[in-house]
Symmetry: C2
Subunit: 457 residues, 2 copies
Amino acid sequence: MTTPAPTHRPHVVIIGCGFGGLEAARALRDAPVDVTLIDRTNHHLFQPLLYQVATAGLSAPAIAAPIRHLFRRQDNVTTLLGEVTGIDAAGRQVHLKDGSALAWDHLIVAAGATHSYFGRDDWAPLAPGLKTLDDAFEIRRRILLAFEAAEKEPDAERRAAWLTFVVVGAGPTGVEMAGTLAEIARHTLPGEFRHIDPASASILLVEGGPRVLQAMPEGLSQRAREQLEKLGVEVRLNARVSAIDAAGLEVQTGQGPGGADASSYRINSKCIIWAAGVAASPLGRLLARAIGSEEAQALDRAGRIRVQPDLSLPGHPEISVIGDLAAAQSHAPGREPRPVPGVSPAAKQMGRAAAANLLRRLRGEAGLPFHYSDYGNLATIGRNSAVVDLSSPLGPFRFSGYFAWLFWLFAHVYFLIGFRNRLVVLIDWASAYWSAQRYARVVTGVELPGPPGETPP
Amino acid sequence: MTTPAPTHRPHVVIIGCGFGGLEAARALRDAPVDVTLIDRTNHHLFQPLLYQVATAGLSAPAIAAPIRHLFRRQDNVTTLLGEVTGIDAAGRQVHLKDGSALAWDHLIVAAGATHSYFGRDDWAPLAPGLKTLDDAFEIRRRILLAFEAAEKEPDAERRAAWLTFVVVGAGPTGVEMAGTLAEIARHTLPGEFRHIDPASASILLVEGGPRVLQAMPEGLSQRAREQLEKLGVEVRLNARVSAIDAAGLEVQTGQGPGGADASSYRINSKCIIWAAGVAASPLGRLLARAIGSEEAQALDRAGRIRVQPDLSLPGHPEISVIGDLAAAQSHAPGREPRPVPGVSPAAKQMGRAAAANLLRRLRGEAGLPFHYSDYGNLATIGRNSAVVDLSSPLGPFRFSGYFAWLFWLFAHVYFLIGFRNRLVVLIDWASAYWSAQRYARVVTGVELPGPPGETPP
């Protein structure tokens, strides 16, 4: 904690401790800099398994590690629980919500992304998305309480609405959620209710595009869809949500981009989960303003800020942006630049690259262009099934089904932070696997409703 | 699920699925009755370890099991998530908050207790108590955020208030909380902060009576106090709380029951935890009214309802009250009746006794008086220390320290519901033990504060 510095040690502020920020701070371990790592929560979240918390398969502490604890032995890192509300590029300061300000010599912004409702933010309370632990608890609450409400509901039509679960968006999160919901309905809950059959629940996966998992090759998309249907998920493709209310949603089919025509229909559902859109953190806009750029020019359509090849901002080599907030290109030697995808390995690689470029600048050298090493793509669908698309020097290596699932499982557990978490997650999965049980089915923060007349339906 | 009954099967309604209600429902497994088990939450809570959730040692799902799941194979039990708001003894119905009613032939009320602020309910938001998982999350949030706030606080006096933790009440919960808080401050957090030394935190245990753990023999109380002080807890006996506000509390010392005199002083603290009083569920009052009794006669000072020797209510053999809501006597053959203590083994035994008496009544026999088998008493203080007072035919068997702690640990893990939970709790403890870490240090549901002027301090 007391490393006497003969000269002024540059102060690096890192905003956000997701995969990008965490790696950047770690990569500065032996660097002659002081790092302050700011996050709005006290934990680093292993987001790839967040859907497991939302579907009662894992407890929150199994996938969340206290940031302070992760850096307890890295003396040049100070952890700060705080929310950045302003960035001053000229004055080299960030402003925090509590009114304080923090000066920096170098800034790494890794504030990530949140879900986007494509301008329909009024849908947020009706169809929660999944980015934080609080989101996961809210979704878990809604799923489990929907079955409870169905058990008590004498009216058949309303009961059916409680037993209809709609997941909007068939990216990796939507596919995981739908597959796991089908498992809960078909394997976990049967036998526990006396008035309903949970296995009769409808799980709908509604996707605006023509296939599931669009980042995957078409063959694997087809496989994923078949596996979902085998699990009992109804997959509705080319189906765009046009309205959501407390009792359900409206869906438009057909290729045209709009207009309520004959091809729109309604789904009655009391539990809608949003896995459709991603929007970069609002810090992107703050950054654009801070460096004096037009928003329209500095940001892409998802609100991500366009970065230089070395991940810095134009005219501001001392500011780097990494992870889901960055609209970055991968610059492989001898190849055309390609967009970097919004996945955790990319965020980690950007974190290490930004730290390395920062050290180069301290030595008076120029930053190197970022090159994303793509090892592939994998997505799980449910117990026993997943799709894997690995890149290898020999060409792509693609498989699906049980071995893909085992591969997915070990890959995820391997990258989980901390030995204890790995062990507990493996035990939970082993016990879930053999018993079809999901042990984290605890609902808290519930205010039970009063008589029907007194509360909205 | 379809057990055809030749005659009308009596309907037993059990209110509450704590230790008492759970055991009663289980004891009716093979009985020719239909059981409806009503609880306000969806889980049975292993309350003896709730303080571990509040102090970030265990995750919530490790100590909470879904009630439906526990009874999935007991076909005569229907689980209902609901809140009882009225009891009609003459019409044999309970009324639920959602406006519905449920008819019963036999009623077992096991609604438990909550914390009591001795008429100062305005203290509740200032000094939360520990009865539910939501309570535990709130306390965990306050403890962890107090250290975060101290790290950011430049003013020495205010920093000291953030680092002063006060536990009010030195019963088992207060002793466990204080001991564990001391461990967190001295062993878990050091090294993780850059501006404060968590080990400098003050942990105060404030108790109105003359010793800690008053249900224990005096020698063990003394031991417990010594162990607490060794852990770094300041124990203040004969100290009664007379006021609580957002910045601290006021304590009166001396024997007299009141009046702010020279012997009262103030403690500045931003984290106060209430472990002082227990009040029976408000259903006690509803029950007294339902059977036409004067409250003053039917209830004792803690709001518990006085039951007959067979645990039924006077004039209402079809209503039994068990657990912490019952002011019951133990009727050992050849001995004076003695009050039954409010501990989980007593609640379990009452659950089994109420079920057995119900079956006797169905056969036309009279209920038997309840006899509490007291196997002893144990309390833990922190890692490595506990006090144990066992009853045996050879007389009491008392010990404290490390072996008492091991005994406490295995006794608690043994009684935990479910093999998986036992295993996970043991792993968590083993890893906590070797690393001094507490892995469940996740804070959620936090709205970070704005500038000092905008929010109350």
